[in-house]
């Protein structure tokens, strides 16, 4: 069933491009219609074909090794085009990824660490991308404008925060911390594309890999709230600003695909469910509800960008999303405090449960958006 569907999708694209391989049966080896077998082991990463046609490619990764592995397709500069995580030994998983022509690297990561075992991958020819659909193309443009609007604020707010830290002004830095993060949290799906930058800027102490320094917002959060001593925080603050500058430049140049947008909208809510409702994200400052609100706004912005395309495909889903977004905003709205939000530790267990319930209710229809966008 699944191969048929993928073939149909690929052929539809080819028909638009000019009636080529599909009418002949689509039997070219490595054609977009057939999965590219990837044989992964603890020491090797072999692709059945080092060249695929532009468009949606399917990689079928079989883990013949003893370690859990991951599979990535990287564009130059290690920009992640697509990934499959957690492929257990003996399992076969598929990655569907839309690749324009160019040179890429495929990587298997046995043990899920390091740079992985890299193989060159060439994508040739041109195919009508998924964004050929006008509504979907508008979605990516619209979201790119949103990202720019947020980075326009993220940079100056981070500069203010960093200046306060370096001036030793604890009170001012504490006040600016959740504000600067708001712009960051709204566009996190974009940030996560750039591999190492996300943990440098936003990594929590326990997720920092061996050999990597604990830097970024949460390091400064700890200095501000846990020790109250920021006399030695200047270099960390400078690093944060440099990293934010780098990501702002990269983010503004990036165009997310409609699928990335849809998955990003869902991932933002997953962030809320796993990090903010539990109070893990801002464990020293307890400003988790600021991040909650920002994640929710970011998710809503991604859905808003997709809205015209969703209206065409699934009007009922749009209605459901509208009502669940409204319910979530209302539930969160109860915890406003002045221009900001109550602290996480000021909420009762029952209040947190209510927030958890509304996020689950919203995340359920949002999890359907990606398939709705991919269909057709």
């Amino acid at each position: 069933m699944r191969p048929t569907r993928v073939l149909a999708l690929a052929c539809a694209g080819a028909v638009v491009a000019g009636l080529s391989a599909c009418t002949a049966g689509g039997q070219e080896p490595g054609a977009a219609g057939g999965p590219v077998a990837v044989s992964a082991s603890d020491t090797a990463c072999e692709l059945a074909s080092a060249e695929v046609p532009a468009g949606t490619s399917v990689f079928s990764i079989k883990n013949g090794g003893a370690k859990v592995t991951e599979f990535y397709v990287y564009a130059p500069g290690d920009r992640i085009m697509g990934e499959v995580e957690n492929i257990a030994p003996g399992l076969t998983r598929e990655l569907h990824v839309e690749l324009p022509s160019g040179t890429y690297e495929a990587a298997c990561k046995p043990g899920m660490i390091g740079k992985g075992i890299r193989t060159a991958l060439k994508v040739t020819g041109s195919a009508e991308p998924l964004t050929a659909d006008a509504a979907l193309a508008d979605a990516t443009d619209s979201y790119q404008r949103y990202v720019r609007s947020q980075t326009d604020a993220l940079l100056p707010k981070t500069e203010e925060f960093v200046a306060a830290i370096k001036a030793g002004d604890v009170a001012k830095a504490k006040a600016l911390y959740p504000v600067a993060r708001t712009y960051w949290e709204r566009i996190e799906p974009v940030a996560e594309i750039f591999g190492d930058l996300d943990p440098k800027i936003d990594g929590r102490e326990e997720v920092i890999a061996d050999g990597m320094e604990f830097t970024g917002f949460h390091r400064l959060e700890k200095d501000l709230w846990a020790t109250g001593d920021i006399s030695k925080s200047g270099p960390i603050a400078d690093r944060l600003l440099a990293d934010v500058k780098e990501i702002v430049a990269k983010a503004n140049a990036e165009k997310l695909t409609p699928l990335q947008l849809a998955n990003g909208a869902k991932e933002l809510l997953d962030e809320v469910a796993t990090g903010k409702i539990t109070g893990e994200e801002d464990r020293y400052s307890h400003t988790d509800l600021w991040d909650f609100a920002a994640n929710l706004e970011g998710s809503k912005a991604a859905i808003a960008a997709l809205r015209p395309a969703l209206e065409q495909r699934a009007p009922d889903l749009v209605k459901q999303l509208d009502s669940e977004f409204a319910a979530t905003e209302a539930a969160l709205g109860k915890h406003r405090s002045g221009d900001g939000w109550k602290l996480h530790n000021q909420l009762s267990q029952a209040e947190l449960k209510e927030l958890s319930d509304v996020i689950n209710a919203l995340a359920e229809p949002i999890s359907k958006v990606a398939a709705t966008i991919a269909a057709k």
Partner: protein
């Protein structure tokens, strides 16, 4: 979609040399080994499916399975339509899963790659394992704490679904008590029971929210004369005098709601009381054998009533021991629970042992998750528990920490019917 009609079990045989086939073969080998200990026929039964459709819900007189996952939900929608839609979806999913199929029509691995699967997949390759799914409605579904009629069904609340009174020694935690809806999933394989609850909770996102849930292992009652009486964590046989599936007259009088008992929608249903009963294991283990037996009123070895020889000998409450005192002490558990001292009231119990790890003081956080079905709790559970809570010698070793009361409607008759239809239509 023909895949959806293939049971997981058939997939297992069809999968041949595929990855699923290897895992499937391991699973079936496991079932055979377990069966060899009991009897080959039992292994067959342990793997097989229990019919979902019928006059009564399965999971009540069904011979008690080995494992439990019980969950209570709060309904978080205000929409009656969404609640009814959910009951219909649950009915479909329950019919599929009890037959050993995936929860959704598409399945765990056949859907669009961009969409989350409509089954979570951890029961792939496992047989139906005797799974039953039993649904009940709590008092708060009819009226909320402020007395509001939430879904236009307040007038249909049965008088028998009266809030339970507070009993002496109750140490109930509201966070793990009550609930608007409950689902009891029982199976011979814990993964199958957990899979059922997980998928029903997933389907219910946005309509219901899990309030509390409980895992149980080792049934503590037999609900059929074909089953041996198991032991609870005190080490005693439990459920010897239980109502059993074969006692049809008693089931009519004591278990199933009869026409005229209350609102028609409950006819053919049964009322469920749950109590999470923490056992103070360590102090119990330090008490002498004779004291343990006197507290229970049965011998620990055979389970015979004190003063009698064999497990199923009738309890003789009048018999005197050599010391002239009653052979079955006046404050013993079996005497106080016996139907002859409770106006003939009996229960169909199908509880499970639980061990929720340890409690931080190094004590086992363990006990009995008590489950009892009956025709009318006001005449059955309530008087029996009053009698026990007042003077049971066992109370010293027990803490009731959670309580639930639910009306379980009649069974789903066929594919066009759904759980609770008579209540909502």
């Amino acid at each position: 979609m023909s895949e959806s009609r293939v049971s997981r079990r058939r997939v297992m045989t069809l999968a041949g040399l595929g990855v699923a086939g290897v895992a499937g073969a391991a699973a079936s080998a496991g079932a055979l080994v377990r069966g060899a200990i009991d009897a080959p026929a039992a292994a067959q039964e342990a793997a097989g499916a229990v019919p979902f459709y019928g006059d009564h819900q399965a999971g009540i007189v069904t011979p008690a399975q080995d494992r439990l996952h019980f969950v209570a939900f709060d309904v978080i929608t205000k929409s009656r339509e969404r609640l009814v839609d959910l009951l219909q979806e649950w009915t479909q999913a329950a019919a599929r899963m009890t037959a050993g199929r995936d929860a959704g029509a598409i399945g765990a691995v056949n859907g669009a790659p961009e969409a989350p699967p409509d089954d979570t997949g951890e029961a792939l390759d496992l047989p139906p394992s005797g799974l039953t799914i039993t649904v009940g409605f709590g008092p708060t579904l009819f009226r909320d704490a402020t007395g509001a009629d939430r879904f236009g069904i307040a007038a249909k609340r049965p008088p028998a679904l009266a809030d339970l009174p507070r009993f002496p020694h109750d140490a109930l935690d509201p966070a793990i008590s009550g609930g608007d809806l409950c689902v009891q999933a029982c199976a011979h394989d814990p993964q199958v029971a957990v899979h059922a609850i997980r998928n029903l909770a997933r389907i219910g996102m946005g309509v219901v929210s899990v309030r509390w849930s409980q895992l149980g292992f080792g049934r503590t009652s037999s609900t059929s004369t074909a089953q041996a009486t198991p032991r609870n964590l005190f080490g005693f046989k439990d459920g010897t005098a239980n109502l059993k599936a074969e006692e049809t007259d008693l089931l009519r009088d004591q278990l199933w709601v009869q026409p005229g008992d209350g609102p028609d929608w409950m006819t053919g249903g049964s009322y469920l009381v749950t109590r999470k009963i923490r056992m103070l294991i360590e102090t119990w283990d330090r008490s002498p054998l004779a004291e343990q037996e006197a507290i229970i009123g049965r011998t620990k070895g055979t389970g015979a009533p004190l003063g009698r020889q064999r497990e199923f000998d009738e309890i003789d409450l009048a018999a005197k021991g050599a010391d002239g005192q009653p052979a079955v002490p006046v404050d013993s558990h079996v005497r106080l629970a016996h139907h002859s001292v409770n106006g003939g009231a009996r229960l169909l119990r199908r509880g499970y042992n639980f061990v929720d790890g340890s409690d931080g003081l190094g004590r086992l956080n363990a006990g009995l998750f008590f489950i009892a079905y009956q025709r009318d709790p006001r005449k059955q559970f309530v008087p029996i528990q009053r009698s026990l809570a007042g003077s049971d010698a066992l109370n010293e070793y027990l803490r009731h920490v959670s309580s639930g009361l639910f009306a379980c409607p009649r069974g789903v008759r066929d594919g066009g019917d759904y759980l609770g239809r008579a209540l909502f239509e």
